[in-house]
């Protein structure tokens, strides 16, 4: 067992990573509750945004514009997909809706690999201005990007909680999570509420893509499949509670990074989200309700 001081820097990086996973997880849960779609292309659209931002950066565009473009691209693709395929698949099983987003993931992934070839290409990086500044707690160096990562997770979780609880749109989303048909009968413009959920999820995907490109790596494959870690958090929360999603995401992020200095386990650290999700899902009580068509969550 390495000394405690070896673990300390990994707590910071783990918290930052966990924060971004939490932000992604909250985006996934809100979209799932409002539209019934588990958006598996979340990582891919974030990667697309980040790579577009990198391309602009190479052309000499200012940093703030790149960041904005990253979020805008992710939001636009997500909203576009939601507007086209959302209504077409609205009445289908959640499983079908989720598999359809795999289609989008593959399209985006192929496109990114075509435009920004990963094999043999130069290592790309997308730095944020906040990488340079920072402070230290005792021996541990903390940079502002890591602070932003964790803070974004906290702010988005709390903000979304408040939004769902107190605003009209949030109430409409919660109503749709319960029953889309009845909500529509009550005069809620379901299509518009769904579009808002898609847009919000897309914006979060863009932010997550930007932060993960900085914290982890700017690489289409890595970013596309990093969504699986957030997915694990979402699964532990049973696609329902955003507080639980946040907690699970932080645990996944911190545990993953804390395993790094332990030599016997370091190769297995990437299993953290999978194992936690598998255990989380399997020990959870079996739901008693068996419905004909709708997935009980």
């Amino acid at each position: 067992m390495p000394p405690w001081s070896d673990f300390e820097p990994f707590i910071v990086s783990g918290l930052a990573l966990g924060g971004v996973y939490a932000l992604s997880g909250v985006g996934l849960v809100v979209l799932y509750r409002a539209t019934g779609v588990l958006y598996l292309a979340f990582g891919a659209v974030g990667a697309l945004g980040a790579l577009t931002a990198w391309e602009l950066g190479q052309k000499g565009a200012p940093g703030w514009l790149n960041d904005l473009v990253c979020v805008a691209v992710a939001a636009a693709v997500t909203l576009g997909y939601g507007l086209i395929f959302g209504p077409a698949l609205a009445k289908r099983d959640p499983l079908v809706k989720a598999v359809a987003t795999i289609g989008l993931t593959l399209v985006l992934y192929g496109l990114m690999d075509l435009l920004w070839t990963t094999s043999g290409g130069e290592a790309r990086s997308l730095g944020l201005p906040t990488d340079n500044g920072g402070f230290s707690i005792g021996q541990i160096q903390v940079n502002w990007t890591q602070v932003i990562g964790l803070a974004a997770g906290v702010v988005i979780t709390v903000g979304t909680g408040v939004f769902l609880r107190y605003t009209k749109l949030g109430t409409a989303m919660r109503a749709m999570a319960n029953d889309r048909e009845i909500t529509a009968t009550l005069g809620v413009p379901v299509r518009r509420v769904e579009a808002a959920a898609w847009l919000g999820c897309g914006v979060l995907a863009g932010v997550a893509g930007l932060l993960l490109a900085d914290l982890v790596a700017l690489d289409a494959t890595t970013l596309t499949f990093l969504v699986i870690s957030s997915l694990a958090a979402v699964l532990i929360a049973r696609l329902r509670s955003i507080t639980l999603t946040f907690a699970a995401a932080i645990v996944i992020g911190v545990l993953h990074d804390l395993l790094t200095p332990i030599t016997s386990l370091t190769n297995y650290r990437d299993m953290t989200p999978f194992v936690l999700a598998a255990v989380g899902l399997l020990v959870m009580p079996r739901s008693r309700v068996m419905t004909q068509s709708r997935e009980e969550a």
């Binding site: 588990l38 395929f85 077409a88 698949l89 289908r92 099983d93 959640p94 499983l95 079908v96 989720a98 598999v99 359809a100 795999i102 289609g103 989008l104 993931t105 593959l106 399209v107 985006l108 992934y109 192929g110 496109l111 690999d113 075509l114 494959t221 596309t224 499949f225 699986i228 997915l231 694990a232 699964l235 190769n267 297995y268 990437d270 299993m271 989200p273 999978f274 194992v275 999700a277 598998a278 899902l281 399997l282 079996r286 068996m290 419905t291 004909q292 997935e295």
Partner: protein
């Protein structure tokens, strides 16, 4: 249930079904001709590059067959089938290095051990349904990939894992003595695939197939009809794991050297995409899917086209299948061709009729 009975009666009394005997005979003849062509003519025609590719097609047709049974017949979506294939390949490679047993025995053993692994996992995972089940298979596949990356495939080393990182001359994984050349091994792989297709067909046409169909349509209704849904779902998982395990065994001999980077988690996702595109409701779909998954990339590679276009195509294919053509290419292409044929025939008929009589086209 009543609706099903009524539908069954309708089918039975439908006069068109009296003529179904003939098409099934034609179908059998077509299959026989295709198989003979694949087994005897194809290895003569193709270059070594394409023979290797077609061996992969044979291997992956078993994998897509297994996934097709799960998705199309029972309604269980697995996002981790490539990990199951990797388990089969690992077990077969380990046994091939450790023992001198004949190849078919190794294949059956690899299948059975993979089946045991799949069934035990399934026993736990079947507490979940639908979306959750699909995602947990993705998680398990991810975990298996990570373990494989550390454990590595056997390369003739000693110990349980059979891996020796400092080995300089890595022995190739052996092939059966009757099929040591590439064309012979291709035939061998096709024959194994035929046996697996027959095994799946035997299941689909008998009691388990009927139980699966009931479960796919509605699990509560199947339960109400007295079907042991857990048993039959497990059965399907066991069959799919067995077939995939055998496919892994064939793959081990085909490539001679196995590396964990050849089984990434994302391939399971692509595999589901091509399986859906090929069509999950017919066995032809499995063959189409394997061709899409292995033959098309080899073809494009030969032409110098990036494989990324294929990934994009697969993505679009999934979206198209889910929105408009649930039965995939295996169903859509023949139907569209038939429709085209009818259209052409009616066009030519109306033209010949138009020549005979000068009736205005806009007449009601």
């Amino acid at each position: 249930m009543r609706a099903t009975l009524i539908r069954a009666n309708l089918i039975r009394t439908n006069p068109q079904n009296a003529t179904r005997q003939k098409p099934s005979l034609i179908k059998a003849a077509v299959i026989a001709v295709l198989l003979l062509f694949t087994l005897f003519a194809l290895p003569q025609i193709l270059s070594l590059y394409y023979i290797d590719t077609m061996t992969q097609v044979a291997v992956y047709s078993m994998v897509t067959l297994a996934l097709g049974v799960l998705v199309g017949r029972v309604g269980l979506v697995s996002l981790g089938q490539v990990a199951v294939l990797a388990i089969g390949a690992w077990v077969a490679a380990r046994l091939l290095f450790a023992t001198t047993q004949p190849y078919p025995v190794i294949l059956v053993e690899a299948g059975l051990i993979t089946m045991a692994a799949g069934t035990i996992t399934g026993l736990a995972a079947l507490r979940l349904r639908g979306l959750y089940l699909a995602l947990i298979t993705l998680m398990l596949a991810g975990a298996i990939t990570v373990v494989l990356a550390t454990v590595n495939f056997p390369n003739g080393g000693h110990g349980f894992l059979g891996y020796n990182g400092s080995l300089v001359h890595i022995p190739p994984i052996r092939r059966p003595s009757i099929a040591s050349t590439d064309p012979a091994y291709f035939r061998y792989a096709v024959i194994v695939a035929i046996v697996m297709f027959a095994l799946a067909a035997a299941h689909i046409k008998t009691k388990p197939g009927r139980a699966w169909a009931a479960i796919r349509q509605s699990e509560p209704a199947a339960l109400a009809a007295g079907i042991n849904t857990t048993l039959y779902k497990l059965w399907a998982l066991a069959l799919a794991s067995f077939i995939t395990g055998v496919a892994g065994g064939v793959l081990a001999g085909a490539v001679h050297y196995l590396y964990s980077i050849d089984f990434p988690t994302q391939d399971s996702i692509t595999l589901l995409a091509v399986t859906l595109m090929g069509g999950v409701y017919s066995m032809w779909g499995a063959v189409v899917a394997a061709l899409l998954y292995q033959f098309l990339p080899a073809l494009l590679n030969n032409w110098g086209v990036s494989a990324d276009w294929l990934i994009i195509l697969f993505g679009l294919g999934v979206l198209q299948v889910l929105t408009t053509a649930p039965a995939g290419l295996a169903d859509q292409v023949p139907r569209d061709l038939a429709r085209l044929g009818r259209l052409l025939r009616s066009r030519s008929r109306s033209r010949s009729r138009g020549r005979g009589r000068t009736r205005p086209r806009s007449a009601p």
